[in-house]
Subunit: 180 residues, 2 copies
Amino acid sequence: MGVPSPNPPFTQDPSGGFREAMRRLAASVTIITARDEEGRPHGMVASAVIPVSMEPASMLVAVNRSASLHPVLVRTRRFCVNILGCQQEDLLAPFSQSALREHRFRSADWHGATGAEHRVLPWLRTASAVIHCDVDWTADYGTHTLFVGLVQAVQCPEAAHETYPLVWLAGRKASITTAA
Amino acid sequence: MGVPSPNPPFTQDPSGGFREAMRRLAASVTIITARDEEGRPHGMVASAVIPVSMEPASMLVAVNRSASLHPVLVRTRRFCVNILGCQQEDLLAPFSQSALREHRFRSADWHGATGAEHRVLPWLRTASAVIHCDVDWTADYGTHTLFVGLVQAVQCPEAAHETYPLVWLAGRKASITTAA
């Protein structure tokens, strides 16, 4: 690090520096799902997902207003957070590329991908954990909308208990383990 | 996983299930710092930290209203996010235990721990990245307040570029690596 300086080396370009700093923030990868009024499933890859409070149990998701999922969430006010396991990287491509949209819910691991509007939202039975939320509060900030959802139901598959989550770092998949 | 069921095994206790689900969400560990009107440094360990938007560059931190840092953030409206590296676990204990409060900023790695109110906030020169923010927007939700900060300056120490971040999973430190 060299000699400590009383004048921190601030980045001249906060925006560029910010992108680099965010590459150094590791985060679990999730797929957020919803269902529109015609029963069609929608989904988006998201890593800006955090718990807000335990009482009430609630989660926050930041969604770009240009995302196709955004208007569905605004109208239907329900979402499901699917925390991916480390073996589920292959599920990401269809949700990241519009050209692969038709392949999004083709995996047999997706439950409830089809159905009427009121049905349970699409959820991944091989996920590390699945959290079903009703949108309770929203706020727009910059390019994004913050959606806070009240937790309605949670699924933690037993088999996933032994599986590590899919984690992203520096723009790619990272390997993660915990000590015995 | 057994035979797929059309009726997902919803947890009867959403709150208990939610805690277990959140143990399966890996997250980078940060120390959020601030400085009060008397120039005293304050800090808190936080993993509920996400970027909100790139334009403007902004970060969101969820802070429990019972945290000692909370009133300082409300009054002074500045915070600094220090993304810890994997070797910095030892810095956590003083910030997690009130009894060790006096030890919080004793490490020589902390810069700007002392100084007048207007000075740069305490920042960790050995962090993976440091993001200085001015609070632009807040909202209360449940037990927490959401603070969104506009990024004012970023430090990404060169030496930390090769260092993996400190990541928490299932209540403990996880080891993380990226493929070559």
